[in-house]
Symmetry: D2
Subunit: 350 residues, 4 copies
């Protein structure tokens, strides 16, 4: 029997999780809950998704707005095994008692603190420790990428220390009509920024410091890493370590993929829904290794990268797959996750 899933919060992450749940053969999306009455929730209706109101006030407002509300969040929770909370930062913590009283498993997102659930999740790093738990927190987009990439190098015994500069897009494309920065850059006031310590909630073995700033665009986040290796290594060794880990893809400047927007355009061209990129995109030909130091640059498509992790977290909590590799393989197959986006060069015809 399929796992019954609710999504609370139909925003940037929630709508993508909802689509991914609908695509999985072992899950059913029972419904999404929200408080909005605008085009966002009405789009869900148009897509055939069952909509619930996150609370009684919202139910009244949504009904007045002509949105076919199928009940409240409490009613939705009564019908599901798991709820994925994708509400705005710090709202989820307040929802926890309701979830607990409903007896459902809970997947939170990275806007919440580690302490909220006591467990932070990246599938390839610690799936096993989440199996059977009541709650977990899928870490944020930046942190997920750090665990994927640095974790791969750590697993290969190559990484001694990582110092990174994270240049974040200032806001999401769909929110860019409000609250953005214009023609400037905004460094975070404190070093380290939270992403380094946050990665250590999942991989305490990482020696990582992050410096962050917001840049004036709405595309992907960019990470620039200086890596102290455990020993002098070859570029191929570093690449091999990255290729051994899931959910890391490679792009190349030499192919004309020279800027954030070109990779985003590529995602649209290969037919990704919403142009999403669930993989961390490492610029393969920018990667440089000098003795025992490596320099690494990659893109993080912040709106989508945690979606496969969330799917895996659902399976871990419900125990429907006890093995991380099995869950990852299924998720990645259904979504169409890739290592390369371009066909390899082929022999020419005679």
């Amino acid at each position: 029997m399929n796992t019954k899933v609710a999504v609370n919060g139909y925003g940037v992450i929630g709508k993508r999780v909802a689509d991914a749940v609908r695509a999985m053969p072992d899950m059913d999306l029972v419904g999404v809950a929200d408080v909005a009455t605008d085009w966002r929730v009405r789009t869900a209706v148009g897509l055939g998704i069952t909509v619930f109101a996150a609370n009684d006030d919202a139910a009244a407002g949504m009904t007045r707005a002509g949105i076919p509300v199928s009940g409240t969040l409490a009613e939705l929770l009564a019908e599901v095994d798991v709820v994925v909370d994708t509400t705005p930062k710090k709202v989820a913590a307040a929802n926890l008692p309701l979830y607990r009283s409903a007896g459902v498993k809970v997947v939170l997102q990275g806007g919440e603190s580690h302490a909220t659930t006591g467990h932070s999740f990246v599938a390839q790093a610690n799936y096993a420790t989440a199996v059977g738990r009541d709650t977990t927190r899928v870490v944020s987009c930046n942190t997920t990428s750090i665990v994927r990439v640095l974790g791969a190098l750590q697993d290969a015994g190559l990484l001694a220390r990582a110092r990174g500069v994270l240049i974040r897009r200032a806001t999401d494309p769909g929110e860019a009509h409000q609250g953005g920065i214009m023609n400037t850059m905004v460094p975070e006031a404190a070093i380290p920024s939270h992403q380094g310590p946050d990665a250590r909630t999942v991989r305490p073995d990482l020696d990582v410091v992050t410096i962050a700033a917001k840049a004036a665009h709405t595309q992907t986040h960019s990470h620039f890493w200086t890596l102290q290796l455990t020993r002098p290594a070859s570029r191929e060794e570093v690449l091999a370590a990255l290729r051994a880990a899931p959910r890391i893809a490679f792009v190349r400047m030499a192919d004309g993929l020279t800027a954030l927007n070109t990779t985003v355009e590529l995602m649209r061209d290969v037919g990704r829904p919403r142009g999403d990129m669930w993989e961390v995109a490492v610029w393969e030909d920018v990667l440089t290794v000098e003795g025992d130091e490596a320099y690494l640059t990659y893109q993080v498509y912040n709106e989508a990268i945690v979606v496969p992790e969330t799917i895996d977290a659902i399976r871990a909590l419900t125990g429907t797959a006890t093995d991380g590799a099995t869950s990852i393989a299924l998720t990645d197959h259904v979504l169409g996750m890739r290592r390369e986006f371009l066909p390899a060069a082929v022999p020419v015809r005679d």
Copy 2:
């Protein structure tokens, strides 16, 4: 038997035309021709599209780059009924002799001048006059939108005179790593800008003047019109005229669709390929009518709006549909063109 189509130039427009041709039940895409060796053409290969080299030099370069080239443009032309030329501005004119000697019908794009073909095309305006011609030019994105919208009002006997300010996005998202403007606006040096006169190549009955400027974004073009009506009219009359024409859709500020990026986000959410919007999106609740004047604002998704027109142009030239309405209906059905993107408000449950 299906119409055999070639696309010369696999860029912003060409890749979309290629996809649309592949979707049409009465057309076959024989191949696309290009000169590039980067990710763009290799993406076509990945999508299963047969790739040709636009000339011998390109063939050598593409082959060296490992792209499986199936022949040259001349060879491609020998296999098709129609070529759609989506090469960069002013290149197409130089290609015309080759096309003519190959005996194929030719659809050019709006970067070329009207004189190149002697016929400029917008399906709803003058499909009939293109039937059986050897060549036509699908006018540019802005001009297409003008003909669709102002033409609808002219057909309804409502429009006396239109004066418009066209704020263009400065470049396409996929090209935004080069050649853009930053934190400024660039007005065109001459009034009228070319779009007004260009619309008159299709609808000489329009009294239209356009002023244009480039703004610092990569989203849709925006048109702001002041319309002198032939008589005092009601807002509903103006809307009814717009609703009677094809390929005009409506969005509303009241739904939270308050900026260019929100509509673009909506396109992604409703599942449009590449987030494309083939319709002109009129802000219904911004439309204002005061006596015999109307004020109208709409969005033009410049990368996609001419795609359905190009499909219709193929049918007109080849005579596979002699009636514009028939072709438009087929094109729009296959693409999934819409009048509204959100479900209507529905009765609430008890």
Copy 3:
């Protein structure tokens, strides 16, 4: 004896008004009042400006922050003839009773409604009606520019009707790290936007409708006008009317001043404080006249254009100049206002 002036609110407008007051031979800046404790107010201290706290709470906070506070707003008011209120929108109205009880004249800014003072001010339009009043409101930057330019054409008997599209910069450069729009454009939801009606509070004889939108930059506002003239006129007649009015300057695309940022750069190069442009900058060679229609484009440097108007308003209220032309001439001379920014072409040497 010089007029004693207070400025309440040391922000984007306030700091410029303070500088202008200090430059005027017939005025003394007694002090500025604010509530902030950050670099902005401390810069005032560094410039030798006497700083007051806008209220008792602010006094405590500013003192704690080490800012040498010379007293409260009430104490400042006791020492001045006039207060210029440049506090954020809608705050000034709440300050009015305090100003009245202090018996000082009051100049408000365009963020307040006309009703607050019952008199709206643009020096060249209605200086005389402000003479001796207790209060007036200097209209906003966009409205000021409309009154200057359209008023000039109306005075020349040339203007029948004006329909304009106002593309606003989304925020000020110094505020661009928060609250901006990114890679989008945001049309105002209602037509007409407020600027047209607002201009009629100063010039009720104008037949003007405005459509407004925010664009993704922090430079000047841009106005694009379609003007119905009272009769067919020559381009030179229109230009002559503009040249007859004060505070309108001319720039030309032919000189390479082709975009908002080039004019801003020019202001810096000619030595303007903060790069300010107090004039409306009309693109002379973009101006087009066709029969009885004219098309006009100009730039509005929103941070500075109301500064000279504010200086004149001080003189009008205090009656220190009973004649608008006299006040305008003095203000413009001291500030260094210009009609042209480039030297005229000069005869070549032999």
Copy 4:
């Protein structure tokens, strides 16, 4: 007798160098040479600067355009002791033979390679080695900042190794209407980027690697450094080393200077010509020291930072000051260079 100076190339750097030369008590600006006929050169005329044509063709064109040309570059060179070449990248190398035949000293800018002159210059690092030379190259803005800041730490015996991420503004504000990037970021394809090695042309003792990318704004460059210290040190030690070096200023997030644009606004507010900042602006309260690692962030105002270095280079080549400290002190006094931009917190009044 004052040193007679020519500036060849009246662009972003040239116009600032011209102004600085005019301000120095020991220098005379004989004239500037250029090829342009647009507003830029005409602004120089308006400022009372004598204009020459960079070659005969330019002379004809400039004369036709009505610009009062006082002769050609060759004639200008005959009247001066030193020429500062601020022509576009790679043009200066071609000018060298002309300069040599005229027997003038030559200051090139950082767009040229080190090999062109065999000497690269940053005043505080190697003034002495330039004294009496015929030519030197003032290194680029980014490199200058690296030498100033890292050199200060190296001189204090604190710096073992520096790894930096340089996020460059994509273009200058005055050029932003062409050739910029929009809503994206563009990493450089190769690591290390040229700035690290370039700094070693001045300070070969630095162990420095740089990674660079362009961001979508026109403000200052931002450098984010991870510094390996020679030993565990305190934050105060690091700050003391920076305070001991010239041309480094401090700003603080705690003062509300939280983004690139706020510092730029501050420069305008304190009355800097064109809003220029000649200092490297270190965010003091972002500086973090952990054991033997330090993390450092600063702003580089690329249009102005090399101007004082260029003035010093003139004195070094001509030997008018044989001591770097003397030249630096004079330059900095005349320009008004500062360590702090805000008044220190002062005791409150009773």
